[in-house]
Symmetry: C2
């Protein structure tokens, strides 16, 4: 079984991925783009992480494209992606847990004002602010997939008034936002959700609400978010993802006192567990068994 | 029923406390120190929050001293405290929940390196660090009372390898610390625990461990903690309590890059719930019923 392994994995991590995948699927021959070029027909599956556009074209015997990342919006944007081939995203309970940890940490920090305390520490000011109970804080999680559901479950478990929302389920977005203190975005990036967090979205939130974006930079209209933060109407933003990554030097998010910025680290995919999940799907493709975590290309996730 | 209300509640909060207590126990007459001075024998109970030494002496008919704070170490240090009178500390589920929130937030932040990300944001650096699973992180909670137990329960619920310890239960402290990545102090401050977190304690922790102190400043030998932080052996400290509060300007904790400092705000007592708990104990004292949350003066908590 010849498997193409390619994409934007990062030089330091590539070895870890290769090792974990080889251990999980020792019967496979792992090819890089150069090796696969010699005999395109030999490649029966591809394991990818945001590969360069064109990497997957012209491979007549491809039975599965398995992404190592949960988000496949960049992959779907490649016009040369072979149309008929099943495409699977990574759904790894360890990655889901990591995302839920970040969502819960952000919720606790925003609820209890720990970002404000950090700011006051830098200013050398000792001042206690008021404390609300968790059941007085309304948290809305956008996204009801694996990531959104697990984040909402853990947040609700701490006593927060938690609601989960998606384009298909839940109340109208505006009525939800009007009763939300902390909104956490875990939606897939699709034409329907691109630019969702704009001036209109932010205007419906009550004063002193906070926004947590753990999904994709394309969900946010940066200028609108900055305006809401600068006006003081929005209390805080926790941002893990950006239109351009790394976030360019000089971008207003970097030094904004109301922004906590993460370098797309809310949930890293762990090679140890993800390689096992990818290997199981590759075996299923080889043996003609049902595939897991398939992407609906029409929906975009 | 004449009840003395006195202590270090803070001018802004005093009204909220008085209002909540009056609503919870409308049949009582609430006296301040000046009003109580007129007729010391009339006072049958005292509701206190770190009162000035001497405030409770010379009141022959006192049946209960009810603290509004969970920690009574300052109260017990008052040599004029009437020896025979039952003394109750505040045990409020809302305060316990707030403390557990802070312990969980600190655990998540230390585990996932969110303090390091905040530091890198200030430096304008985009760099992802390695991510461990929660079940690879060993958390030890010192203290098995209401606060320690609830904190440990919530931390364990997130998948951390969690252990709880007290002077009476658990393995020897040194063997516990040798297998601890994050240690959270929620012990009462007594002669047996004062200065517990010293050079010897810190030397037993593995390299890159973190310390969270949510109990009392007196548990920590500041110079030893600073030395461990400065040497880089200790990764981070989250400190809510200090020998002198407010923490004096110029203290090395204020601007230390490895210290997150809170202004004794890990868990505020909420007048809305605590007043009801105090009122129930005052009624029990008036009616000769069993009292709740009594302090063992010999143990010191």
């Amino acid at each position: 079984m010849n498997v193409l392994l390619c994409g934007d994995i990062g030089a330091a991590d590539f070895g870890a991925w290769q090792q974990a995948l080889q251990a999980a699927l020792p019967e496979a021959r792992w090819l890089d783009l150069a090796a696969a070029r010699a005999d395109p027909a030999a490649v029966v599956a591809a394991v990818v992480a945001n590969p360069l556009p064109g990497s997957l074209a012209g491979r007549p015997n491809l039975r599965l494209i398995q992404s190592l990342w949960a988000g496949v919006d960049r992959l779907l944007a490649d016009a040369t992606l072979p149309p008929g081939v099943p495409l699977a995203r990574m759904v790894d309970p360890a990655m889901t847990a990591a995302m839920a940890e970040t969502a819960l940490w952000a919720t606790l920090a925003l609820h209890r004002g720990f970002f404000a305390y950090a700011q006051r520490q830098r200013e050398g000011r000792w001042r206690v602010h008021a404390q609300r109970r968790a059941d007085e804080v309304r948290v809305s999680v956008l996204g009801r997939g694996q990531l959104g559901s697990e984040a909402a479950r853990r947040i609700a478990q701490q006593g927060y008034r938690t609601r989960a929302w998606s384009l298909r389920e839940g109340p109208p977005l505006a009525s939800l936002l009007a009763e939300t203190d902390i909104v956490i975005n875990l939606l897939p990036l699709t034409p329907a959700t691109r630019g969702l967090i704009d001036a209109g979205f932010l205007a419906v939130l009550p004063p002193q609400a906070s926004v947590v974006n753990l999904a994709r930079g394309g969900h946010v209209v940066d200028a609108d978010l900055l305006a809401a933060l600068d006006s003081g109407r929005l209390r805080h933003a926790v941002l893990d993802v950006f239109h351009t990554e790394p976030l360019p030097a000089g971008h207003a998010f970097w030094q904004h006192p109301r922004v906590m910025l993460l370098p797309h680290a809310a949930a890293l995919t762990d090679p140890r567990s993800a390689a096992l999940i990818a290997a199981a799907n590759l075996r299923a493709a080889r043996d003609g068994l049902p595939l897991s975590n398939l992407v609906d290309r029409a929906k975009g996730y």
